[in-house]
């Protein structure tokens, strides 16, 4: 039970940090992309950062929906959070 509480706590913290980080990375990425540095390689780094930040935000937003979908499918296939089968004594 302690493990589960710890994990839940960690999940909450990580979600908050992820949202903030997404914002931060997006800002930094646009800053690099739009900066007047002459090397195009560095500006491509900025482009990459923006893309990844947007993907991250996308996954955070629909993460819960996908997990709900997985458990819905498994319930539809016949198991809830699974009951272990009871073996009969030989």
């Amino acid at each position: 039970m302690d493990v589960i509480a710890l994990v839940k706590d960690l999940i909450n913290k990580i979600v908050i940090v992820a949202w903030l980080l997404f914002l931060l990375t997006w800002i930094i990425g646009w800053a690099i992309k739009g900066s007047p540095i002459p090397s195009s390689k560095i500006r491509r780094v900025g482009q990459g950062l923006i893309e990844d930040a947007v993907w991250g935000a996308f996954w955070v937003a629909i993460g819960t929906s996908i997990f709900w979908l997985i458990s819905y499918i498994s319930i539809a296939l016949g198991n809830s959070l699974p009951q272990p089968p009871v073996p009969q004594l030989p």
Binding site: L21, G29, G56, W59, G63, L81, P82
Partner: protein, 458 residues
Amino acid sequence: MTFLIVAFYLTILTFYLGVLIYALPIPIAGLKRWGPRLINDAFFTAVIASCIELILNFADYLGQILGSNWDTFFSTIKGLLMFRSTTIVIVSSISSTISKVIPGISRVVSAGLNILTTSLYFLILMYFLGLLIYFGVVTLSSFGIALMAIPFRIARNAGSFLLSFAIVFYIGLPLYPQFSIILSSPLPRSSLDLALVYGNVRNFLGRSIADGYIGIKVGDEYVGPAKLEPRGRAVVLIPKKYMEEYATVYFDVAGHRFYTNISNVILSSICLKRFHEHICEVDVEVKGLLHYSSGLAIHIHPPPVKVEDINMNSSHILITLQTDVETMLYISAVNGYSITRVYLDSTSLGNPDKYKAYEWTWYNVQGATYTIPIPSGYHIMCIEYFLKSSENLEPSTEDLYPGKILQQDIPMNQFVDYLAATVYLEITSSIIFISLLLSITYGLSRLLGGTRRLRLIP
């Protein structure tokens, strides 16, 4: 159960960790690649964690197709264990008799005994593995999934190994008896091939008989007398070819061979629940016998309607019965007993010697039979006796059984063949089988935990 809940939450944690890494402003490619990897892993493990019951049902279904049945597995292994341990007991008891005849054979026999004991250990190992997998398949697989769900693939290999171990052994372990039969069938069979016949012995009233000797007659050969195990269990080793011939089982006590319900039948056709071709369980009912203990047998014919009670203590036997025809009570006692008085419904019947019908020799013990007529009706018989000596009440039969089994013609190469075919069978077949299952486990775990994954997302 909690393992699965932990696994589910761990997958959610892994997912968000992957998202976090995606959102990190550090542009190092090696680090960034962990983002999609973790997200993939989370989906994969979440699917497995929620479908575990489906997986186990599928494993059951596969097992049914392959013919693996846990009930027959446990019964066969228990029967084989009993067979092996009986063989060990018999071989160790023979070694003392044979070593008087052939000096030096005791070394060979004790080496053979060591090997037999090792093969017994391997059988016990298979039994224990069976218990572990049968009762723990859900726990083991949930624990494996929980390990797989730990982020950054730390315990993924270990978890997938546990999961595939549980599933592969759940499907494959009950196939072990068929496997050992496949291994052993091409091996040469010698005339020493033995089969085990065992069962409970009871009298015609349904009471179990705790003491006595069982013999099996096939044609002109008589295998026995085999002393009953404690609590009335008969265990007899006979040459395997006798299983397919007409056999009669006798209850061999006090100078008489009493008929049982197994009379002139082919043994392999009356075995209950035949799990293994060398093991046969039968149910033996001795006709007409009321009681036997330590050289004193009480027999009645024709059988009475009802016997209420038979009570025997150190000085007398009390029998309460009801019969509707005139019947005859036979008391067969070895000469260590001396019957002092007989009472029928509290009237003394006089000197018991006038009831002595005949004397007999039971292997190497002398005795006599007294016949007492009983009129019809409800009677209480009291037979007072006196035990003159408590030695020599039962014959010494080691040279008859099991000694005689191995005293048939044993050419040395056949003995070695027998040793190889039966004794080493368990050792080699269990080692080969477990290593087969383990390599299948390894393959399945590579599939489940492999690093080359289909990329779900770029």
